[in-house]
Amino acid sequence: MEQRILLDHGSGGVASHRLIRGLFLEKFFNEYLQPLDDGALLDVSSPISFSTDTYTIDPIFFPGGDIGSLAIHGTVNDVAMMGARPRFVSCGFVIEEGLEVSCLERIVSSMARAAQDAGVRVVTGDTKVVPRGSVDKIFINTTGIGEVVLDPPPRGNRAMPGDVIIVSGSIGDHGLAIMTSREGILLDLGIVSDSAPLNHMVLSLIEEVPHIHVLRDPTRGGLATTLNEIATQSQVEIEIEEEMIPVKDSVKQGCSLLGLDPLYLANEGKFLCILPEKFAHKALGVLRSHPRGRDATVIGRVLKKGPGQILLKTEIGGRRLLTMLEGEHLPRIC
């Protein structure tokens, strides 16, 4: 095959077919994708969980993953957060003219591995190639569907007074990994993205503890943003214990040096679970028995009904609000 992606590869002609058969079908191979029809024919039982996300991350390769694995993990996780078993994924590529084919191969291989790891299949897709400069190397959209197995399903508006909040592991890893690798700084700290599929852990949890009220993964905006969203949706006041929030020492150090707050950094391999207190112990047992859930811990509780608000009990025993950021997380001056 050619060395670089050309506009020809997105035009639907012979070059396109060569790319689809030679790369996408080769790596993603399964019976649903193989016919290469306009769409895939699937057997999925309802209710169905359906989610989409577009990945524009820079850099496209980072410690712990790449734009491809992230695209699979992210959508698999969003589907799973609705209390569903993810089954099928579509992917749409928008590729910059001139991208090295070896780079695309590396990304697609990574996606195939991630899909296998998660137990989902890529069943349909699309490829566009745009002129140099129109996108930054590659953007990927993935859309996933899954079968909801929890009734009633977890929703953002179901948090109730008396519930506790569990986080499945350390926070801030992904956001800091991206920041440091993009800027080429603090690489000696060895910060690695936590990008991973969460569906296996979620399904084990649901099986043992069906009384879950809320499941959500704190991606963009971090833990603080996600908690605020849930508090607003559920119209509750939530109290969080700062010293219970697991943060790796290397992440604490990196954040302190850069003037960033780990509570606002993205996570791509962690989730929040809000459920009645009496089931917390069992839930922790299930999570901690999974390799990705070893550091699962209770970080707070839902206090009462009221305006959506997060009250942080600080490490020194004081109190303050934990609010949402206005926009981008920008590093401080001095």
């Binding site: 700084i185 609000l321 001095c334």
Partner: protein
């Protein structure tokens, strides 16, 4: 951090006793990092009744006058200019409500830096553009800018310049105390003091009889420092005390000061909401004028007054607290800030809004 919590509670109890003996005590800090630390750690929620925390002009973004902001906005609109800046400046609104973030969305070239050296490297990578670094900050930041200017000269980089807007803390403190700001004690900035040392603050106890403590940023540091302030008032032995000995040497950092001395000289400066404070700013010396963006581009800037109703100036001088400003949380919010005190990550108004006043 159980040990830390016990120590803090011990200090909070001590604070309570001391405040009662003082019959009330107010302290002012003049460092944005102290403002954030006090709120973010939750220490503020533990202050006893009668202890008043006032935030002074310690946020370099907040004290940047509207006129100085207009200079930066004018330059970034210039053909072939890339404005390099610390992240904090991105959302500061000018008199028309326009920010660098908005201008960037409209096509202006703005580059967010962690350090001024990033800007110099950018200038070397892109010889076809003019890179202007916006020099904002106190004595913690200005030495690195001075070093960068020297480095630019050494590397022979001709498309790099600095828009100078640096300020100095001691003249501002002198001005505040002489204009009658009423505080019982001053919490002095830790990072600035690593550069300027201890003795330079001597006028605070000697001229004004106010105790002062150079404090670190951990909650323990701050709590200890506040106790020390009150002890000094009670004993009558008023002086400058260095609590932050692990970072601040008596003589500060002579090399950093020498760099400053070589590249910059003192000038009068405009402080938002305060006006001119003599000798409180830095301008680039003639020997480095090739790297002075003011001389290279000669921006006009605009003479504008603060927006009506905005009381940033009084907040900055510690005369009112943010909730006393009529715009606070109503017209002025982080989403749509009127003044920089709300938009800077270290601004008092932003801190009150973000962390609440539990």
């Amino acid at each position: 951090m159980a040990g830390g919590r016990k120590e803090i509670h011990g200090l909070v109890e001590r604070m309570k006793t001391l405040v009662e003996r003082c019959g009330g005590f107010s302290f002012m800090e003049v460092c944005g990092t102290h403002t954030v630390a006090i709120f973010q750690s939750g220490l503020r929620s533990l202050f006893p009744e009668g202890l008043r925390h006032i935030s002074g002009p310690g946020c370099p973004v907040c004290v940047t006058h509207a006129r100085d902001i207009s200079l930066g906005m004018e330059l970034v609109r210039g053909e072939g200019i890339v404005l390099a800046t610390f992240g904090d400046m991105m959302r500061v609104p000018d008199a028309q409500g326009m920010s660098l973030k908005m201008l960037r969305a409209k096509g202006a070239r703005v580059h967010v830096c962690y350090s001024p050296l990033d800007a110099l490297d950018l200038a070397q990578r892109e010889p076809g553009v003019e890179v202007v670094f916006w020099g904002i900050g106190f004595e913690t930041t200005s030495p690195t800018v001075a070093a960068t200017i020297k480095e630019a000269q050494q590397r022979g980089v001709s498309n790099f310049s600095v828009l100078p807007a640096h300020k100095l803390i001691p003249p501002a403190l002198d001005f505040l105390l002489s204009s009658g700001v009423e505080v019982d004690g001053l919490l002095l900035p830790g990072h600035v003091s690593t550069v300027i040392g201890v003795d330079v603050y001597g006028f605070i106890p000697h001229k004004y009889g106010v105790p002062a403590v150079i404090s670190g940023f951990e909650p323990l540091d701050i709590a200890m420092s506040i106790c020390r302030l009150m002890e000094m008032k009670l004993s009558g032995r008023v002086e400058v005390f260095n609590q932050y000995t692990r970072a601040v040497k008596r003589n500060g950092n002579p090399r950093a000061r020498a760099l400053l001395e070589e590249v910059f000289e003192r000038d009068d400066a405009l402080w938002r909401g305060i006006g001119i404070i003599k000798g409180s700013g830095l301008r680039i010396r003639d020997s480095y004028s090739a790297m002075d963006a003011l001389k290279r581009f000669n921006p006009k800037g605009s003479d504008i007054s603060d927006p009506p109703g905005c009381r940033c100036g009084e907040v900055l001088q510690g005369k009112i607290t943010p909730p006393m400003c009529p715009l606070f949380k109503k017209r002025c919010t982080p989403m749509s800030p009127v003044g920089p005190c709300m938009v800077s990550t270290e601004g008092s108004c932003a801190a009150y809004y973000k962390y609440g006043t539990c």
